[in-house]
């Protein structure tokens, strides 16, 4: 191929150069069939980057002290040199907003453009979870609505009252998600109209539920049905709709937190894939430019330097080991899939008969669209990859005095390592499975939650604190029962705490 003039040779960036790199990268990305939202690239200072950090990466968000805490600690660490700032932040919106820091060199800016504007962006647009759960075109509007609404509440009801509700909602945020129902996209205008309707509707319906006029005797005699009839996993949703004492603005705040939690839900489930996909594409796109002679050897060296440090996986006994690096795992698996497609070994043919030798780009796109971390690992983690990372499984049973090595990277262990690793990315295993089980509608209105135990793991020590928040929202007693798989109640937490008058037998 004829060598062409490189786009730039120095390390300083200019807006013209960013534009040029972007259009070249866009051309190559199209060549590989990456389908993206339009890009909006914003150059910001490090201070603005810290601001963005503090509001969980969002260009705007409502005010809350926890964001201030986040900001204060980021600022502190950054100023002391304990941490560098991320090179980029990218927002799942349409157009897709990515931030470039002004301190970056030209190479870094190009890397970020390839990584965020084409890698993450195409993932947001293609992956089924994002397609199902988030609406990229409405999120910015919704955040604006939320910010204004909460501002208004603060003016009307005082900062403290609003803060109290928000604190409680944040504690339950991970339980404000519908896992199986698809929300329909909605615009701000509709949102406003509906908000008013909702207020009226709920207040009217509550009265039905809490109606104290006694029903017919015989109905009482039948065994009282539970309310809700089926356990409810979305705690915030249940409270928003059923808590007896909340005012309508409090319900709306719960709803806002719930919506935002829902928006983040896919990101929590696709970290490995999302980062792996973005790393794979910045690597592939920039090397393509290098092959065409559009970037210099110096550029590619600098790029590889930061690329390799991002995807480095320290071994478990290294002092700075901090779990499995999602970049390393994701990138490794993406490259591995390409290898299996292009140069399959006999082992690969045995393990992956359907993809060995197929078109790599199509296979990768298929994986990107239809999987989340858990299923992606379960489907695609190859023995080759397990050997490369030297993965092994540890079983830690608190009933025994030692931990057992369950499986290692050998023929007998591949399957188990793969299953265990996949399971560790299953949110259902990571977080306690807690659902709303019953409300004592005719009695003291107490709310009973059930924790369906997984592997006999008990609740952590902050449980009582969370229950206090829940109690604040619900307004009446709250009970949490930890239930073992055979239906036996193993442990309970209460708020307000129940005073033990006599020793249990």
């Amino acid at each position: 191929m004829k060598k062409r003039e490189p786009i730039s040779t120095g390390s300083e960036w200019t807006f013209e150069l960013i534009q040029k790199y972007d259009s070249e990268i866009a051309r190559v990305a199209e060549h590989y069939g990456l389908d993206t939202y339009p890009n909006q690239i914003e150059v910001i200072t490090s201070e603005q980057m810290m601001d963005a950090y503090a509001s969980v990466g969002m260009p705007l968000n409502y005010n809350h002290w926890s964001f201030g805490k986040q900001f204060v600690s980021t600022e502190q660490q950054y100023k002391r040199g304990q941490m560098g700032l991320a090179y980029e932040i990218v927002i799942n919106s349409n157009p897709c907003i990515s931030y470039l820091m002004e301190e970056n060199t030209m190479t870094m800016q190009a890397l970020v453009i390839a990584h965020a504007c084409y890698g993450h962006n195409s993932f947001f647009k293609g992956n089924y979870l994002f397609r199902t759960w988030t609406d990229a075109s409405a999120i910015i509007d919704y955040l604006l609505f939320a910010k204004n609404y909460i501002n208004k509440c603060e003016e009307r009801h005082g900062v403290d009252a609003v803060e109290q509700v928000l604190d409680a909602c944040h504690a339950l945020m991970n339980y404000g998600v519908n896992r199986y129902q698809r929300p329909q996209p909605i615009t701000t205008e509709e949102e406003k109209v509906r908000q008013v309707e909702r207020e009226e509707y709920i207040q009217r319906h509550l009265n039905q539920l809490w109606n104290t006029i006694p029903k017919k005797e015989e109905e009482e005699q039948n065994k009282t049905p539970r309310f809700p009839p089926d356990p409810e996993e979305n705690l915030l949703y249940f409270i928003e709709k059923n808590a007896p004492l909340l005012e309508s603005w409090q319900r709306e705040i719960i709803r806002i937190v719930r919506k935002i939690a829902q928006y983040y839900y896919p990101q929590r489930q696709t970290q490995v894939m999302n980062e792996g996909w973005a790393c794979f594409w910045h690597y592939t796109l920039l090397h393509h430019l290098h092959d065409e002679g559009l970037v210099t050897d110096g550029f590619i060296m600098e790029f590889l330097h930061s690329h390799t440090s991002v995807i480095y996986q320290p071994p478990f006994d290294a002092p700075y080991f901090n779990g499995i690096n999602p970049y390393a795992l994701g990138y490794g698996m993406m490259q591995d899939i390409r290898r299996i497609c292009e140069h399959p070994t006999d082992e690969d043919r045995l393990w992956f008969p359907d993809i060995a030798g197929s078109d790599w780009n199509e296979t990768l796109h298929h994986a990107m669209r239809n999987y989340k971390d858990e299923s992606f690992i379960l489907q695609y983690l190859s023995p080759h990859m397990i050997r490369e990372l030297r993965l092994f499984t540890i079983t830690d049973n608190s009933a025994l005095s030692t931990m057992q090595v369950g499986a290692i990277h050998d023929d007998a262990g591949y399957q188990k390592v793969r299953e265990d690793l996949a399971a560790s990315y299953n949110i259902g295993n990571r977080e306690p499975n807690i659902q709303i089980y019953n409300v004592d509608v005719r009695g003291d209105r107490s709310l009973t939650l059930r924790h369906f135990m997984h592997n006999q793991q008990p609740m952590g020590e902050s449980t009582d604190e969370v229950l206090k928040h829940l109690h604040l929202l619900w307004g009446f007693d709250v009970h949490l029962e930890s239930v073992s798989p055979d239906g036996e109640i193993v442990d309970t937490n209460h708020c307000p705490p129940i005073l033990q008058t006599e020793e249990p037998a």
């Binding site: 534009q19 972007d22 259009s23 866009a26 890009n39 690239i41 914003e42 150059v43 910001i44 200072t45 601001d51 509001s55 809350h64 002290w65 964001f67 201030g68 805490k69 204060v72 502190q76 931030y99 002004e102 900062v159 803060e163 504690a171 991970n174 320290p314 478990f316 006994d317 290294a318 901090n322 779990g323 499995i324 990372l389 993965l391 092994f392 499984t393 540890i394 079983t395 830690d396 608190s398 005095s401 057992q404 369950g406 290692i408 990277h409 050998d410 265990d420 690793l421 560790s424 990315y425 295993n429 977080e431 306690p432 592997n455 006999q456 793991q457 008990p458 902050s462 969370v466 928040h469």
Partner: protein, 425 residues
């Protein structure tokens, strides 16, 4: 197609509100940290910003998570020597840093660090002096205002050329032209309408002639409008500036310290800290502040800051010498009408026996009627002596302007200071 936007000039401090919320919520902790800092720092950097630590357990946001116990399967990278079935001792302190996928690190065992962050000088002082006030500051305000401030107050139609407001003047000119040409323009509109109707009769010789005549008339009218002056003396508008009296914001602070032989270095150190606090507090309330340092043993002397805080002298004690000197200085240099006067006196309570009632006399007659506030701190571990007893009598008489407190050890300084200046209903 990508859009590239330079956001660097956008508002920076987006997190300010959140940061304030955070500080507000943890006020109690921050105040405690500030108090410690005030008591432990060297005099020179007492007003710097500072580090605040809050125990992590107070600040963490609780969520539901798994506790220790039960069965966990974890996958780790980098195996070197393990084979299936190996048994390993459980590492101390909660396992090897949490396995893959443990969303939150365990907040048990080690790693119970405090949450530490920096507050700047401004915030530090805010917390330091929160809820404190300078007593009776209002009295001085406006009473004998001697200084004025020039303020804008709308517009006038007379003034000197340097105060001409161009925009207002042109707006007035435009309005005048519209107003005065109304009749002509209405006429022109009517004529034009007439031309329009005539044009429908074309071709017609008579109509044509009429159109020509009407056009001529329009031309005349237009000329008349044009003759209207573009700008007239009448249009000119001037910025109006008025002088408003401003309350005196000048303050003088007298630091009176005993440096006699009985004052040990540690007692002097406590006194200095107290004065520094007072000085910082006053600088926040007044734009312009002067400080007069008076030190005394048997004689009083006005000295500069350096000498006041850092040089040593010994001798007997006659407190009235310092009070007399202060009274003289007030009379000569700081007329009470212009100045807010504060006096702070620190001593160990020692005084020559025959002198204490003279002190009372000087205070009651010459000083207290002129000053805003007189604060006396006695730094002593022993029983109170006659000076304190005399002062107690003054306190009964001058409840509003006279205050006294005892400091026993350095940690009392800040609380005593707060007591002296706490907000009174």
């Amino acid at each position: 197609m990508s859009y590239i936007i330079d956001r660097r000039l956008n508002a920076k401090k987006k997190s300010t509100v959140n940061r304030q919320r955070f500080l507000r919520r943890y006020k109690k902790h921050i105040k405690r940290a500030v108090e410690d800092a005030v008591n432990n720092r060297s005099i020179r950097d007492i007003d710097q910003g500072g580090e605040v630590s809050i125990p992590n357990k107070d600040i963490s946001e609780p969520i539901f998570h798994h506790g220790n116990g039960g069965i966990r399967q974890r996958v780790f990278p980098g195996n070197k020597e393990f084979i299936t079935g190996d048994e390993i001792k459980r590492p101390e302190g909660g396992g090897g840093g949490g396995g893959a996928g443990q969303g939150q690190a365990s907040n048990q065992g080690e790693g119970e660090d405090d949450f530490t962050f920096q507050i700047n000088q401004e915030e530090f002082l805010n917390f330091m002096f929160e809820d404190l006030e300078l007593p009776y500051m209002i009295k001085k305000q406006l009473r004998d205002a001697t200084s004025f401030e020039v303020r804008r107050a709308g517009f006038t139609s007379v003034g000197s050329p340097d105060k001409l407001n161009v925009v207002r003047s042109l707006r007035a000119a435009n309005a005048r032209r519209i107003a005065l040409s109304g009749k002509e323009r209405r006429k022109i509109r009517e004529l034009k309408k007439e031309i329009l109707t005539l044009e429908q009769r074309l071709p017609d010789v008579e109509a044509e002639q009429q159109i020509v005549a009407l056009n001529e008339e329009i031309k005349v009218l237009n000329k008349r409008i044009k003759r209207m002056p573009f700008i007239d003396e009448f249009d000119l508008k001037y910025n109006n500036l008025i002088r408003t009296p401003v309350p005196s914001s000048k303050a003088v602070m007298f630091c009176v310290m005993d440096v006699s032989g009985s004052m040990t270095q540690s007692i002097k150190d406590i006194a200095k800290r107290f004065f520094i606090l007072l000085y910082l507090f006053l600088t926040r309330s007044y734009k312009h502040i002067e400080v007069v340092f008076v030190r005394h043993h048997t004689h009083a002397k006005e000295v500069d800051e350096e000498e006041f805080f850092y040089s040593r002298e010994t001798g007997g004690t006659i407190v009235s010498s310092a009070l007399n000197l202060s009274a003289d200085i007030i009379r000569d240099r700081y007329p009470a009408g212009d100045w807010n006067i504060y006096v702070a006196q620190a001593s160990d309570g020692d005084n020559w026996d025959g002198d204490s009632h003279i002190c009372r006399d000087v205070l009651e007659k010459q000083i207290l009627p002129l000053v805003q506030y007189f604060a006396y701190v006695e730094i002593t571990t022993g029983p109170h002596q006659n000076l304190w007893l005399e002062y107690e009598q003054i306190r009964e008489k001058f409840e509003e302007t006279f205050a006294m407190q005892t400091i026993v050890e350095p940690s009392d300084i800040y609380p005593v200071f707060r007591k002296l200046f706490e907000k009174k209903e």
